[in-house]
């Protein structure tokens, strides 16, 4: 049962087998939760928004046209819901793509001691959790969901070039932090 494809599950749910929807929930809940947590920077909000996303997706399944993957369609709901939540909580949404300078505050968040002492994977995870919403969304969809640039651009409704720019900037920022860490390790 668990080996069914997304399309087969959706067809079954539309036919009236509501219980099959739980397979889709189990399949996507943790990855979508990670993306929301990274975007909203709040676990409680992430869980609440995710519940709404799954309910929204369930009631809109009849409108799903099977033209794109369910994951792309679902992540579009998740991404838009996160943006709405951010707007509602009056947090700043970056309408323009954030520049590298904007993201340098992340680097300054870590003092030399933390950078050297903490395990690199812990540092990377912490930085990813503090990335601006758009960057966090791209990183999660690219690495966790293994979505292509085209699929991410469809989910976020931005161009593929923009997806690439966001991805590369996030990677470059992390590279700079690792370089700084290596230098500090040599000095200390």
């Amino acid at each position: 049962m668990k080996n069914l494809t997304d399309v087969e599950i959706i067809e079954s749910v539309i036919k009236g087998n509501t219980a099959d929807y739980s397979i889709l929930i189990d399949r996507y809940k943790n990855k979508a939760f990670t993306m929301l947590k990274r975007m909203l920077k709040n676990e409680f909000d992430a869980e609440e928004v995710l519940q709404d996303c799954f309910l929204k997706a369930f009631y809109s399944l009849k409108n799903f046209k099977f033209e794109s993957k369910f994951s792309t369609w679902f992540y579009r709901i998740v991404y838009n819901s996160a943006l709405t939540k951010l707007a509602n909580t009056k947090r700043k949404i970056e309408n323009e793509m954030s520049s590298i300078d904007d993201m340098h505050f992340l680097e300054s968040n870590y003092n030399a001691d933390q950078l050297v002492k903490e395990d690199l994977s812990v540092v990377v995870k912490k930085i990813v959790n503090e990335l601006p919403p758009k960057n966090a969304a791209v990183i999660t969809m690219f690495y966790l969901e293994e979505m292509s640039g085209e699929e991410i651009s469809e989910a976020m409704q931005i161009s593929v070039a923009n997806v690439k720019v966001i991805l590369h900037r996030s990677r470059n920022l992390l590279k700079e932090i690792i370089e700084k860490r290596n230098l500090l390790q040599e000095v200390l």
Binding site: K29, V128, Y143, R171, K175
Partner: protein, 169 residues
Amino acid sequence: MKNIDDEMLNNFIDNQLSDKELDFIKSAIANSPVIKKRYEMLLKVDNHLKQCGDDNLPADFTILIMNKINRRLKREKQQKSFLVIVLSLFILITVGLVSFILFEMINSAQIEKSSDIIMNYSHNISQLFSNLIGKKNLSIIGSVLSLIMLVSGYYLFELQKRTRKNLFH
């Protein structure tokens, strides 16, 4: 020689370069220790990002969502049934009233003998409804209608309350 920036190295990691560019980058990495170091650093970042796992939700999350869906589906079904019952009663009462009015009209009119068969037939039907909606039963029907209206009002109020609750929570 063309400068190799981080953008090109990122594209190399994502395997988004043409064969010509690919050869060019490969030879640059092999010949320049600086470029090799930058590439290795980006590759390290890429590997770390790949290793960042997902966060787990509480085990009962799926059950919670499914319960919400089932509750809503059940509520929708109940509302649908209620609407069908109210509509059926309304149609039944309307048909009864129309028949009663027709019977009264037929009674008051002077109908010729040729239409006796039709008259008798309609008389029997209208008699049936007039017994149901007679002067004595009219008050009962009125009471039933009032009760239906009261119950509908209660359900509408409850529905509005639930909708508001769903909107704000």
